[in-house]
Symmetry: C2
DNA sequence: CAGCGGCAGTGACAGATGTCATCAATCGCC
DNA sequence: GGCGATTGATGACATCTGTCACTGCCGCTG
């Protein structure tokens, strides 16, 4: 029997996933959560075989929780289950050494298959997303450039960003200029859009 | 027996919803689609009691399909089922006179309840979203202002936007300035963010 | 029919943005 | 120790953006 922890904030989807997994005779959902902060404590208590984590969660996001689980409880495998699947998310998931990564638009029979493979310690990665991620390449931004771009996405002026990150406005403009150039964007709006679509910020 | 048409592009979610509805003895899914373009033709052929439509779909989006269904097939009720639920989406759904509007983070028992009510011709609206929509108020932007803002979100310069919409760059700036002022934003980035979060563009 | 609001445009101006050259401190790495 | 990358900063410059005033043309609506 594969014991599963399920973290998904959209209740309806979680209920539906419960129904779906309930159809498999060799699987059992031992916990279903709607908050990322509960993942690690619950896993430590129940020691599930596989944790199915959404990325967009209230509290700790799924990728961060996956990295923590890897440290604290290497026996529990992680299957990341995400909606859109930005290429950058796959990279971050691989860094956290997750067992699997699938998108919600995969065929529904594939979930049970993926769960069994991940439980056995095998890898399961969404092939379409791997292709996109390889094409998009690695994140070209430095940490600071990503920080500045993230702050710029809030809509503030260069000065606002500088105040938020304790940087001189001129320095902010340099980082933004670098990011715009690296992303081959036309201006900061374009850069923000590209970085968000690639999952880099 | 309530006959249901289901349109949801994320296969996994669709399979899970099928499993969930399959648990109800008085309901039957007669069609499940992953493309918005198929909704109206399929509904005309099968005459379902309720169409459950996601908003974000490949091809025709769920709200547009809902409006068409209302015209072509008033007997079939529509239940919009969406992930994030921007307030503006609710307004558009009400204009299309949908039977129900619920978010995917509603409790899963609520889906069957909502389906039964909508099938009977009653209304079912997500209460939390109604509250947010009332607080946000109506879309303050004119059609042209929204067009320009949408184009600006692509990341182009004022001139690019002007070329795309066949407007003088100066006119584009005037519309953007109006939009920024109406949305109480600090610049176009802020305006784009606010309008997107409210579902106005 | 007068008035209002949306649409489209022009010109002017201050301020924000994007680019570039240049400098300096720090850190990892060969 | 030297090299390159990253971080942080300054100054100068051209360009883009946001704002304002003002004009004209529709299409409603009271």
């Amino acid at each position: 029997m594969i014991r599963i922890l399920l973290a998904e904030d959209q209740h309806l989807i979680r209920g539906a996933l419960l129904a779906l997994i309930g159809l498999e005779p060799d699987m059992e959902v031992v916990a279903d959560l709607d908050n990322g902060d509960d993942i690690v404590p619950t896993a430590l208590r129940l020691l599930p075989d596989v944790a199915v984590l959404d990325i967009e969660l209230p509290g700790t996001d799924g990728l961060t929780a996956a990295a923590t689980l890897r440290q604290e409880l290497p026996e529990t495998k992680v299957l990341i289950l995400t909606g859109l699947g930005h290429p950058g998310h796959l990279s971050r998931a691989l860094e956290a050494q997750v067992g699997g990564f699938m998108r919600k638009n995969a065929p529904s029979e594939e979930l049970a298959d993926a769960l069994r493979r991940v439980a056995k310690g095998q890898r399961f990665l969404d092939p379409a997303l791997v292709e996109t991620a390889l094409k998009a390449g690695a994140n070209p931004l430095t940490e600071r450039e990503a920080d500045v771009l993230r702050a710029a996405a809030e809509g503030g002026t260069t000065t606002d960003i500088g105040n938020a990150l304790f940087l001189s406005p001129a320095t902010v403009r340099n980082y933004l200029s670098n990011a715009i150039s690296k992303l081959d964007a036309r201006n900061r709006i374009d850069a923000i859009r590209i970085a968000q679509q690639s999952g880099w910020i």
